[in-house]
Subunit: 162 residues, 2 copies
DNA sequence: ATAGATGCAAATATTTTGCCGCCAG
DNA sequence: CTGGCGGCAAAATATTTGCATCTAT
């Protein structure tokens, strides 16, 4: 089962895709003294270069193209580690694609995932309004926000019912 | 595994809890000519009276207290049906409680779930800002929004690190 | 009467764990 | 050298499906 969900930024620039210089994730981990194994280097490269939201399966597939000696369990353990470090966002895109999860390197800004429930296309949206909303919630609830996940579903122009 | 997540509205009134007059869900289904079986009546009652976000397991448990002849599969099929009708929201509360899903009857307004990552308490927040955000996204992307899911995690006053 | 719902068992799908040998630092 | 990491197999969790039977309308 390949991954799905095309990725397209609405209000920010495209992600650069040079080839093998250390990406964001790898740099972040080096800075924190996390042990970099062969497997982790590969997985970080896969995720740093992903232009899509990847499922755990899709990550494994891509990793094994680089080096087949990567095990699915290691993928899960690495994802877990990245989440612990707050470097990874986990989505499920409203379960349009079953109960699989999708992962993406958590960039500098939060963004909202907007998915078409019919064709499955996913757009990413950043919004100052959303930043305001977070600040308002921090004020109102006294909670200090560390992660957010906003998934919005609907029908895109081509997919309107009727 | 019981359900968790206390429910507390911030900006709206508390949910009433009379005993057996038809609740929101049941009324909605009657209006749509959906067949009401013994099992469905029970499940709708459970959900209409829930003061918490319930997992599929928790829904089954409560239903079986009313009548043990309700099967887990029927719970899943009923949840599925309610989702199709847009009467049910499905959450996973940022996976604080494992990969279980939680369900709640979708009230008249969207709301945001704000969870403390340490103590697990969940608050529900409604916000005009969020309504504005949805309208902005509809304008910007041309998507007609039908469902939203916003889950925010952080640390509440009592649970701040340090 | 009959389309649609349920129960049961088995299949799927996805993620986690125990244990032991291995390798990055 | 050594503690954290990875591989393998097996378990756990959560949900879905096929099919025969039943029931609300």
């Amino acid at each position: 089962m390949p991954s799905t969900a095309n990725r397209r930024r609405v209000s920010s620039g495209e992600r650069l895709n040079a080839h093998s210089e250390p990406g964001r994730l790898r740099l972040a981990l080096e800075g924190r003294g996390v042990r970099l194994t062969r497997q982790r280097r590969i997985l970080l490269e896969v995720m740093d270069q992903a232009e899509q939201h990847l499922s755990a399966d899709a990550i494994l597939e891509r990793a094994q193209k680089i080096d087949p000696r990567v095990h699915q369990v290691t993928v899960y353990r690495t994802l877990e580690m990245l989440k612990r470090h707050g470097l990874l966002d986990e989505l499920d895109l409203l379960h349009i694609h079953g109960h699989r999860h999708f992962y993406e390197s958590h960039g500098p800004r939060d963004h909202i995932h907007v998915a078409c429930l019919r064709c499955g296309k996913v757009r990413e949206v950043e919004s100052e309004l959303f930043e305001q909303l977070k600040r308002q919630i921090e004020r109102d609830t006294g909670i200090q926000i560390t992660v957010t996940r906003t998934e919005i579903g609907g029908y895109c122009e081509g997919c309107r019912p009727r």
